[in-house]
């Protein structure tokens, strides 16, 4: 089993007592080029269950202004795929929670998909979220390589995804399914209404084999609670990056504590 699967079955085992899984996204190389590992350490110390490390890309199609800006700054700071792997070389000496790299497919294609996966395994990455690598291409060309390096590939579903396709994605997944909360790019923080609730309920009632983790639009204790009432956990991205922008690394533990309260 890999760390993601372990973490999720641990959560499931203690279902009623355990807190829901909290995952944080941040862009590697932001706010400063060398912040990556320190942010990871602080997130683990603050009680975060899992982290998505954003590999910055010049043209992040699925992201709103907050993550666009953090990606641009990270690239300006000099972040590259190679530098990220160097930064993560010893990360497993101090960080034990599951780590996922989230990024767009082109930088990985240039690095070489197999080389990239090999490096991920070497530094202790557990999974990948690549929004623009579609299901069909993954199955046909990349599934074997990901498996060889024990990397879990995470697919997204949205309120518009048909039940049929959700089932196909469930079959192709072996970690969790990323439930995108609304039809929107990242960083839309208006809060949830009954549309989201209905959608979370609908997918939760499909009895999929994979746990559901909600992302996009979670910003505080209230939205975290709404997102996780029927699912296993939630991911916070833009709201966390805004905290970093405002308060720097010193704001991390307070922010995480504020999500867990209530």
């Amino acid at each position: 089993m890999n760390r993601i699967q372990n973490k999720l079955s641990e959560k499931k085992l203690y279902h009623n007592k355990a807190e829901k899984l909290l995952s944080i996204y941040f862009t590697a190389g932001y706010p400063k080029l060398d912040d990556t590992v320190e942010i990871l350490q602080q997130l683990e110390e603050s009680g975060v269950d899992m982290v998505e490390i954003g590999l910055p890309f010049s043209d992040p199609l699925a992201d709103g202004p907050t993550i666009q800006d953090s990606s641009q700054l990270a690239l300006k700071n000099g972040m590259t795929t190679e530098i990220l792997f160097q930064q993560l070389k010893d990360v497993r000496k101090t960080v034990s929670i599951p780590l996922i790299i989230m990024g767009y497919f082109n930088p990985i294609l240039q690095y070489g998909v197999e080389d990239f996966c090999e490096k991920c395994a070497e530094v202790g990455i557990d999974g990948l979220i690549l929004p623009d690598l579609p299901l069909s291409e993954y199955k046909e060309h990349y599934h074997e390589t990901f498996k060889k390096y024990n990397l879990i590939n995470v697919f997204l579903i949205t309120p518009q995804t048909s039940d049929d396709r959700i089932r196909q994605i469930d079959t192709a997944s072996d970690g969790f399914i990323y439930l995108v909360s609304s039809s929107s790019v990242t960083g839309n923080l208006d809060g949830f209404d009954e549309n989201q609730e209905n959608y979370f309920n609908r997918v939760a009632s499909m009895q999929l084999k994979n746990p559901l983790i909600v992302g996009f639009g979670i910003k505080d204790a209230t939205t975290f609670k709404q997102a996780t009432s029927k699912t296993e956990g939630a991911i916070i991205g833009s709201a966390f990056i805004k905290t970093l922008a405002r308060n720097g690394k010193s704001g991390i533990s307070n922010f995480i504590a504020s999500i867990r309260e209530v």
Partner: protein, 393 residues
């Protein structure tokens, strides 16, 4: 070898639909329906009628006598510059607006660089009474003020793209993000043979009327179906795709694609994707694009805003790597000179994009009895400011 698209949405190794799941329902709906809709008799009837009565097709195939004399060969110009709105772009927007209506969409979005595709989209939205939102880089809005005014007069809302480098690539990103945010009522009219499958194929089919007409017209004028060469400029590649379409598998016809070298291929300010690009993914398509070693997409440069795109459509990536197409790049200076030459020799003011194609005759030799068709993709009205500044007119 087949140079057209295969059933999986690829031209050789290029194409596909590398899109986030949020776009899947929309793109899939289009993929499942576009051929069916295009084959409907009522669609064809409406499309053909609008091309004839609204766009002004067929556009002439004009024998350029003085230009031919100068270069000692036989040059025909396919006059897409005479289309309504001034360029070939409208062939595609007419087709796509009819598609959008049949799919029940009520809101239209598009990206634009120079503003030609934006104007062509705003035009068909006015014609059909549909809401129209055009994304345009903040930098381009300043560079192309007359086209911004045209779009507004036609009732479109022009939204500045303020992310990234604030040009065509970023306008395209913003249009895609808008589509993610509006998945039900909106159709995205992409302006070239780029983007996820089925866009490259759909746009190529709408533009293929260009080579369809060339075939008939050439038979009348030269008593032959095939020219020896077809020449077209390539930004994303839609006018070239249309001019090449019915000759793709006819190896007797040379296909010459002209890219913008900007200030020179090695100057760092260029848009010559075939020379400078590597395989990668841009705007949902696996194709050739200009990028850093680390896979970040780089900014192109050309004096012509319509050729200022860091990728090419997957059809052209395949024509290039297979050797079926001959790819040539032309600098700003050569293109401007060729544009002015056409004014003086033939009384036609071409778009700067099209001027790149015309510069082929200073770059490459042809035989005296070769028959060459240059696709004159647009007229130069929109470029007057650039011509004035460049030649100090």
């Amino acid at each position: 070898m087949n140079y057209n698209i295969n059933e999986k949405g690829y031209y050789g190794d290029f194409g596909g639909a590398y899109i986030p799941e949020m776009l899947y329902p929309n793109v899939e709906e289009l993929r499942q329906n576009y051929l069916k809709v295009m084959r409907e008799e009522s669609f064809q009837k409406e499309f053909r009628q609008l091309l004839k009565e609204y766009v002004g097709r067929p556009t002439p195939l004009y024998f350029a006598k003085r230009l031919s004399e100068k270069y000692k060969t036989k040059i025909y110009l396919k006059r897409e510059d005479l289309c309504h709105t001034g360029a070939h772009k409208v062939n595609n927007t007419i087709g796509q607006i009819l598609m959008a209506k049949r799919l029940g969409k009520t809101r239209i979005i598009a990206e634009t660089g120079a503003g030609q595709h934006g104007v062509a989209t705003a035009t068909v939205c006015a014609l059909m009474g549909l809401e129209c939102i055009i994304f345009m880089g903040e930098v381009d809005i300043k560079r192309q003020a007359p086209n911004v005014a045209r779009m507004k007069m036609l009732g479109a809302k022009v939204v500045p793209a303020t992310s990234g480098s604030k040009t065509l690539k970023d306008a395209t990103n913003e249009a895609i993000r808008d589509w993610i945010n509006n998945p039900v009522d909106t159709h995205y009219i992409i302006g070239s043979v780029v983007g996820p499958h089925p866009y490259p194929d759909m746009v190529a089919r709408f533009q293929s009327v260009i080579s369809e007409e060339i075939k008939t017209q050439l038979r009348e004028k030269e008593n032959r179906k095939n020219p020896d060469f077809v020449v077209a400029c390539v930004g994303g590649g839609s006018n070239a795709a249309g001019a090449f379409y019915h000759y793709l598998d006819n190896l007797e016809v040379g296909l010459i694609a002209v890219e913008a070298a900007g200030k020179g291929i090695d100057s760092g300010e260029s848009a010559a994707t075939s020379a400078l690009g590597k395989v990668g993914i841009i705007h949902g398509s696996k194709t050739l694009l200009m990028q850093t070693a680390d896979g970040q997409i780089t900014e192109p440069y050309s004096i012509s805003a319509g050729l200022d795109y860091p990728g090419v459509g997957p059809m052209h990536a395949n024509l290039f790597t297979s050797g079926r197409g001959e790819f040539i790049s032309i600098t700003d200076d050569k293109a401007m000179k060729a544009g002015l030459e056409l004014c003086k020799l033939e009384g036609i003011i071409p778009a700067i994009e099209s001027s790149h194609a015309l510069a082929i005759f200073e770059t490459r030799k042809f035989k005296r009895d070769d028959v060459i068709v240059v696709n004159l993709s647009g007229r130069g009205d929109k470029d007057l400011d650039t011509f004035i500044r460049y030649f100090d007119l």
